[in-house]
Symmetry: D3
Subunit: 252 residues, 6 copies
Amino acid sequence: MSDATPRHDGRAIDQLRDVRITRNWLDHAEGSVLVEFGRTRVLCAASFTAGVPRWRKGSGLGWVTAEYAMLPRSTNTRSDRESVKGKIGGRTHEISRLVGRSLRSVVDMGQLGENTIVLDCDVLQADGGTRTAAITGAYVALVDAIETGRAAGHVAKKASPLTGSVAAVSVGVVGGRAVLDLDYVEDVDADTDMNVVMTGDGRFVEVQGTAEGEPFDRRLLDGLLDLATEGCADLTRMQHLALEDSEREVAR
Amino acid sequence: MSDATPRHDGRAIDQLRDVRITRNWLDHAEGSVLVEFGRTRVLCAASFTAGVPRWRKGSGLGWVTAEYAMLPRSTNTRSDRESVKGKIGGRTHEISRLVGRSLRSVVDMGQLGENTIVLDCDVLQADGGTRTAAITGAYVALVDAIETGRAAGHVAKKASPLTGSVAAVSVGVVGGRAVLDLDYVEDVDADTDMNVVMTGDGRFVEVQGTAEGEPFDRRLLDGLLDLATEGCADLTRMQHLALEDSEREVAR
Amino acid sequence: MSDATPRHDGRAIDQLRDVRITRNWLDHAEGSVLVEFGRTRVLCAASFTAGVPRWRKGSGLGWVTAEYAMLPRSTNTRSDRESVKGKIGGRTHEISRLVGRSLRSVVDMGQLGENTIVLDCDVLQADGGTRTAAITGAYVALVDAIETGRAAGHVAKKASPLTGSVAAVSVGVVGGRAVLDLDYVEDVDADTDMNVVMTGDGRFVEVQGTAEGEPFDRRLLDGLLDLATEGCADLTRMQHLALEDSEREVAR
Amino acid sequence: MSDATPRHDGRAIDQLRDVRITRNWLDHAEGSVLVEFGRTRVLCAASFTAGVPRWRKGSGLGWVTAEYAMLPRSTNTRSDRESVKGKIGGRTHEISRLVGRSLRSVVDMGQLGENTIVLDCDVLQADGGTRTAAITGAYVALVDAIETGRAAGHVAKKASPLTGSVAAVSVGVVGGRAVLDLDYVEDVDADTDMNVVMTGDGRFVEVQGTAEGEPFDRRLLDGLLDLATEGCADLTRMQHLALEDSEREVAR
Amino acid sequence: MSDATPRHDGRAIDQLRDVRITRNWLDHAEGSVLVEFGRTRVLCAASFTAGVPRWRKGSGLGWVTAEYAMLPRSTNTRSDRESVKGKIGGRTHEISRLVGRSLRSVVDMGQLGENTIVLDCDVLQADGGTRTAAITGAYVALVDAIETGRAAGHVAKKASPLTGSVAAVSVGVVGGRAVLDLDYVEDVDADTDMNVVMTGDGRFVEVQGTAEGEPFDRRLLDGLLDLATEGCADLTRMQHLALEDSEREVAR
Amino acid sequence: MSDATPRHDGRAIDQLRDVRITRNWLDHAEGSVLVEFGRTRVLCAASFTAGVPRWRKGSGLGWVTAEYAMLPRSTNTRSDRESVKGKIGGRTHEISRLVGRSLRSVVDMGQLGENTIVLDCDVLQADGGTRTAAITGAYVALVDAIETGRAAGHVAKKASPLTGSVAAVSVGVVGGRAVLDLDYVEDVDADTDMNVVMTGDGRFVEVQGTAEGEPFDRRLLDGLLDLATEGCADLTRMQHLALEDSEREVAR
């Protein structure tokens, strides 16, 4: 397929879906964002609590962690609840760990001090790219939670717990060409699927590429990394817009 | 306290909070409602599938069931996920069973035919009355799911799977007087807490009253039942409005 | 059916089954009762321990809780053990919580002091009404456990940890009329099933009514509450007889 | 200590505690026995069902299995429920397997035909020797269940599913001498503890001896086996008496 | 079968399989042994840690415990992992407890001091006798772990934590005659299967005999005990050889 | 640090540890390999069974899956067993999934036919790189299992179930420079850790890179990919040597 042929939803190969970041979607949480990548909709709630888990007490360091989950009917057909099954699946574990690591990569734990932030990323509707939307939204919720914690006196006035920003996007090989931000239909068809997490200054935090069908060569890998770099830069701009805005909602 | 003294949020003792019923909040589910009772916000997704569980096969009867859960940060302080704890708590079990029974009370399983509808009620934000909001919203999602099933040819054209409508409200004794539709602040203070589920024609499906503090006498019980009857009638009207509307959202 | 037509076992509509309360059925427990409502047989063991759970330490308050369970062959056909299944079912959870709340409603935790009483209610044989028998028997075991705790010096000599007594009975609509204390055969047939927990002075602690078939109207609900009030008063008398008796067994 | 010195409860070294076997203690089970070895009290319920587990279907063979459990307050101090802990402990597993193997040792599975018998042995009160009491009582319940199954036409009229009887007793070394049927006080003190399961014709089904303190030599082992042989013979006589009796209860 | 007829693998009835004890098979563990009884191969790792579990703190006593497990493909056909099933089976529990008790029988906990040793016995390949191989190998690993603990200063220089040695072997009745150290083929055929654990000075720690088929009489039991005594004496010699050797491996 | 400075164990930056691949380490498994990368030692057992899981029946396609686990004392300090904890951790899940995907990438499921191969990769000793060693070893075991299945007539004589070979290696940034095949000491220190799975013809199957410390830029990423390509080519050669050899063991 030529790179100029539009994708099944009309997008160009290097085009993100409509992205929408709605801050303060919840009343209780110290930070919260409803993030939408097209029809993918993830609720990110950041809970700030003074103090750290026992194994970290007295270290002077804070802690940031994340939990990812999908509502049973976020998907096309209903999935059983993991709470009902009594155990968490491998995919859920994997993504929770990825989101946590990604956010920790931009936190200076010493500057955060002995405080804990838990990011709950619950997928209300899934249409591909839920983990990358989760990371992108959770970063914004994290910023708000830190400021809430600072306002409450738990974070020092002059502390800079954040060393940068972080965003994520998926790229993949669909119909033989590299495309940005796959939706569910493209994801199912993709030969290669890669999730890339990057800092706002363009460095890599995570690169996770998997050949679902054919193994991929170095040239293709390079192309995917180029696309992802561009996509993350776009998302970074939207995160900053959302955070600058005094209002609740920013859309692309 | 005199019955004329306004409540902490200015409501009269027999006044519901602002109620909002948003249909089709999700794209995939056969029926879906975001229901709001004030700041309480519950996402009700109805999943229609042709066929029934094994134990019901060949009976000619359908099946309707429900699962209730709270997002970890729906509450004031974060709660651990039941999927992470590996088991479902008693309260969750209890409410899931209540929601399921309540909806089954208005379904004619023979008219539904061998089809299954699962109602997932996920609390996105909790401020008291989550189970009654869930029942009230799930009924609307159920209606939509049945019609989706009918459109897909799974429910007979002339079948009437619904024998009526169902709605629910909480009532309680706060500061010595009976009040309708308690929010979290009132719930914590209540001496008696009662959840009442009623059909649209004013009959009882469930009455669950608990003395949290002082046991209550028959006169007080009678007063609570009166208030609940009135509240459920109001909610029934709002459900009908929401269902008549061609648009997505109905607010009180 | 006329109210004068006898029930399938010959009882009048407002007649309890034969009730038997045998105290001190166990040698180790601080209080224990084998309670029988007809063929329903529940062993209630009250364990008194000095001290309270961690979350209650230093409060000066005691704690009372309950666990309900059924032996696998208490029922007509054998059920799997919840220990083997590795999780507790919703019904078990619900009833354990109900029993605990009911007993706490007559305990003054300050008078009890920092002591814990656990009521284990194990159904040895089930023939309807196991939860109401459990509450009725557990109250008697609770009284004995408190006195054992007082004799051991853990409860102050002049303390009055009990604010009253508590008993419970089921009522329901069978064959169109309200009847008291349903056995299993009636329970299966009932359109409405209600469990009522009352204090010895005739006030309500819990009212849990469910329409298994037809929803019920207010007049029927009033009739059920009348019957339950009468039944609980009878059970209260039997509890007092059992407690006054120096011997082990009291039967109606 | 001389062999003539009485034990802490006055028994001779080769004397069983008072044994009581009450048949048909339950109304629903196909066979049931309340067995008492002194203060140890075990309820044995035998559930007969036509058919066998899937892995045995079509084999023409029956299946017999057992589950052992203790009520939380059967012991001196309350133990947590295994259902609440969500897993079965090693000791419970071990004893369930022992009871099952012991009963299977006297069953001709071909004669039983494709029927299943589950023996539930629930300890209502524990004072040492619960597993041996369970085996001894379960055998009697098993006999009754087979006859119930025969009466219902599931077992052939002329079939002989039982190849003999089985009973069990504990022996141990307490204060340097071998004694029969240890109660809890002796069990705690014992250097060696041995459970012996024997058929009615005096052969061994299981021998499980453990040095809790000092390892034991061959002479001591021989003495223990002699005592156990004698004790099992006594129990066999009591089982036969109980089964011959038309009435419900047999005591030693 | 005459006692002179060779067994299916050519062994005499009182002959062990080739036994091989390889010390220090692992680099990290404080003591480790790969023990082989013919094709049965068990990796025994002894982990020494200063300190004891909470319930033993301040007692001055140490603690020794064991965990036994089989790799999924140690057997002829693959078994599911217990970690995947989410629970440990009865057999695994039973054997872990047996190994722990056996090793504790030769440890003077006061001499060990407040230190803990965990013996992990993982079956890499199973061909009968895995639990007896585990005990025999674990003893050697235990000796090494104690010396490692002593070298690290956790065990007093002059302390004697070991009161003797311990070894184990299986015996059984195959084809009507008593044989020593059954492999899998014999185990499947055996009428009686007995595991015997003995100290180096010839006393019994555990005797666990089970009639898989026919119950066994006293004469047969005596014969099995004689064989086991001989077998344990041989294994004791091999353990001592292994421990005397400066090199890593000792084979029979 | 200059690229010429030797690593803590003397290796060059692009040098693998000593690699050893021992085939047929087990007697029962259809394919088995003990693979060693330096002190890392992983036992890979391939179990071939005719037939596929229910969800794949009738598809004509085979199935290949993997389970990874660590023995409790494979590590420096003992870890609790996942079977004892009753749940599998996120890391274990993640690696099991990675190994399964990697091997499936070189299997033509149609050529395999309706047969299942399970790869059990149990880490006997861990010193970094356990997942890459597991993949590298499992491929060899897979080849042997397919041939065993072919010999048994389950795989067609002329079928080519393998489309290529697969191997894996870790690379990382330690002390500022990219190095190949990190051991535990280097892993702990690494700023970036990347696992790369490649086919024998030099294409990528998985690329999983994580910034443990500083995010990494594109140039560094490119360097890591170069190193990994070289390392996988070396491992591919060793796999082929091992498979060509008629003897059991191949070392680098």
